[in-house]
């Protein structure tokens, strides 16, 4: 699993200007370890666009392949350096620095890491890319899909404690700034002033975990909101003109759409039970945001049960649920504008100078109605998703550092049409196989 080089030997291979360093680092060690996954997946669906866990219908040989290399340098005197570089098939194998940090161990049980560290949002966050380390080919997407951001540039404090008997405790406290591509938004998600806390207690057969993370979230959603903002300006202009009240403003609604420094909170609970012949796991997550259209109230969970069979085989069944709804407050804001617009007495001076009922011209009225109605259903449709996924998986540890996995996924998904607000149910199945390695 890991290869140890005497650092002195490595350095000796370099030119002589490194000699002073060699003397200083003669006893430090460099561990190189790595992992790889080679996978194939294919979705079977009646609908043209249906996918399960991002597995395409035409079959995918490349996107799920990944390779990672990790360096751990023990610099002595309680200081270590870690870097992990991962190349994903989905990103054309372009290497990405996932981890880059220095850790200082105040004592064996207390350490502080500084740099680019993994945010432990999920139970499997720390080794999310190392598929060999868990039962599935990838963890349930309903839970692990949002947020897909995984690291933060900042500091992480780790404290482990022996709670007596079989029990141990691990607390993690981290803070920093994150900027990573968020798949669900299709753009970068920036989280500033992020503060997170995770606590796990475990004994030989049981792990229990809770996590909280909060911060100010910003994302560029201007392309999606451009038309709407034009529409809001049109409504404002009309109402201001007709009511002769220049203070009429829809800024409250605009703020709902502006994804700028919105308060975001992520909470999660997890449990894992590990027995000789059976294992059970469950995780639930919840995301709430302060009045934001792009992200509603997101809830998801999974429960998994597995058995270990002779010959290093194990079989598991996972049930996962995604239950995402539009943010209620945003929805209410929109109902308010529609009502406002209908209730405002639209009077204007007629040809004789008398106030008379005023009609928006048909085109403007149609545009406004269309935009408002379209936006309301659009919000619902965009954030609405209810899906249930069953995953039947098998893992075979055929080698000391390699595992072969097969999975069959069945997904039932309710989606909402953005134009008609109709809810339709889609069934889809997918199959995937993978070979996982660690070294």
């Amino acid at each position: 699993m890991k290869t140890v080089f005497r650092k002195a030997a490595v350095l000796a291979a370099f030119s002589s200007y490194l000699l002073p360093l060699q003397a200083a680092a003669a006893n430090s060690e460099l561990d190189v370890s790595g992992f790889a996954t080679l996978a194939y997946g294919k979705t079977f669906s009646d609908k043209e666009e249906g996918t399960v866990s991002s597995i395409p219908q035409e079959g995918e040989y490349r996107d799920f392949n990944k390779f990672g290399l990790r360096l751990d340098a023990d610099l002595e005197d309680n200081l270590t350096f870690t870097a992990q570089i991962v190349a994903n098939g989905v990103n054309d194998y372009e290497p990405n620095v996932d981890w880059l940090f220095v850790t200082y161990n105040f004592m064996p049980t207390l350490s502080l890491s500084v740099g680019k560290v993994r945010m432990p949002l999920y139970m499997y966050s720390d080794y999310l890319d190392v598929s060999y380390a868990y039962q599935w080919i990838s963890p349930p997407q309903s839970v692990y899909g949002v947020p897909s951001i995984s690291s933060t540039e900042g500091v992480k404090l780790a404290w482990t404690a022996d709670m007596g008997g079989q029990w141990t405790s691990e607390m993690l406290l981290w803070t920093g700034k994150t900027q990573e591509f968020e798949a669900a938004l299709g753009s970068d998600l920036i989280i500033e002033n992020g503060v997170g806390f995770a606590w796990a207690i475990e004994r030989d057969w049981l792990t229990l975990r809770a996590v909280y993370f909060g911060g100010k979230a910003t994302a560029d959603t201007s392309a999606a909101t451009a038309d709407l903002f034009d529409g809001l300006a049109l409504i404002e202009g009309n109402v201001q003109q007709q009511t002769a009240d220049p203070s009429y403003s829809l800024n409250g609604v605009r703020e709902d759409f502006e994804f700028v420094e919105d308060d975001a909170v992520f909470m999660g609970l997890g449990a894992f039970m590990d027995f000789e012949y059976a294992f059970f796991g469950a995780e639930a997550t919840m995301i709430t945001m302060d009045k934001n259209v792009a992200v509603g109230d997101l809830k998801s969970y999974y429960a998994m049960a597995g058995v270990r069979l002779p010959g290093d085989w194990s079989v598991s069944l996972t049930y996962s649920v995604n239950d995402d709804k539009a943010n209620e407050e945003v929805y209410e804001d929109f109902q308010t504008i529609t009502a406002d617009h209908a209730a405002i007495p639209l009077f204007a001076p007629d040809a004789d100078g008398n106030m008379a009922p005023y009609m928006l011209n048909d085109t403007t009225q149609a545009t406004v109605a269309h935009i408002v109605q379209g936006t309301v259903t659009g919000i619902e449709a965009q954030t609405y998703e209810e899906s249930q996924t069953y995953t039947l998986g098998a893992r075979w540890d055929f080698h000391r550092s390699a595992a072969f996995k097969m999975e069959y996924l069945h997904q039932i998904r309710d989606g909402m049409n953005g134009n008609t607000a109709e809810i339709s149910t889609t069934d889809a199945d997918a199959f995937r196989v993978a070979l996982d390695l660690v070294f």
């Binding site: 890991k2 140890v4 990790r70 751990d72 870690t82 064996p108 141990t168 000789e276 290093d312 000391r400």
Partner: protein
């Protein structure tokens, strides 16, 4: 209590006392002779799974393994760590890639274990009881 039952119990006691001498190989856990920590199977398991990174007195700990395929290693894994080889391998992948711990360093055999233990006060390892000598201190007989 009947005489017959007493006789049976006596037989069982004699048998159980005699058992260690019948068993072909016994695995023992060893530390540096100056290590004064009291260690039981529960604490040793936590130390060997890198859940505890220090001895009960707070001193740093370094863990060592015998080579793969070694019978003493398998016995220690089965009885103290209580995990199959593949479960343990996944476990170390999780610990290593989450920076929580590294698997034990593998030593070549009993001689190297004894050299390491006698020269390194933080070291802990296991041996076949027949390989034990005065350079190491036995803290646990694996049952």
């Amino acid at each position: 209590m009947t005489f017959r039952m007493l006789k049976l119990i006596t037989c069982l006691m004699v048998l159980s006392l005699g058992l260690p001498s019948f068993s072909a190989a016994e695995t023992v856990v060893v530390v540096h002779p100056d290590n004064k920590n009291s260690l039981d199977a529960v604490i040793i398991r936590k130390i060997y799974l890198s859940k505890n990174k220090s001895f009960p007195n707070g001193d740093k700990v370094a863990i060592f393994d015998l080579p793969e395929g070694n019978k003493t290693r398998d016995e220690f894994r089965d009885k103290v760590l209580r995990k199959s080889a593949s479960r343990l391998s996944s476990y170390w992948a999780r610990m290593l890639f989450s920076s929580k711990g590294k698997p034990p360093k593998v030593l070549s055999g009993a001689d190297e274990v004894k050299d390491m233990i006698s020269s390194n006060p933080s070291a802990i390892a296991y041996l076949d009881a027949r390989d034990v000598d005065s350079s190491v201190k036995v803290v646990l007989h694996v049952k």
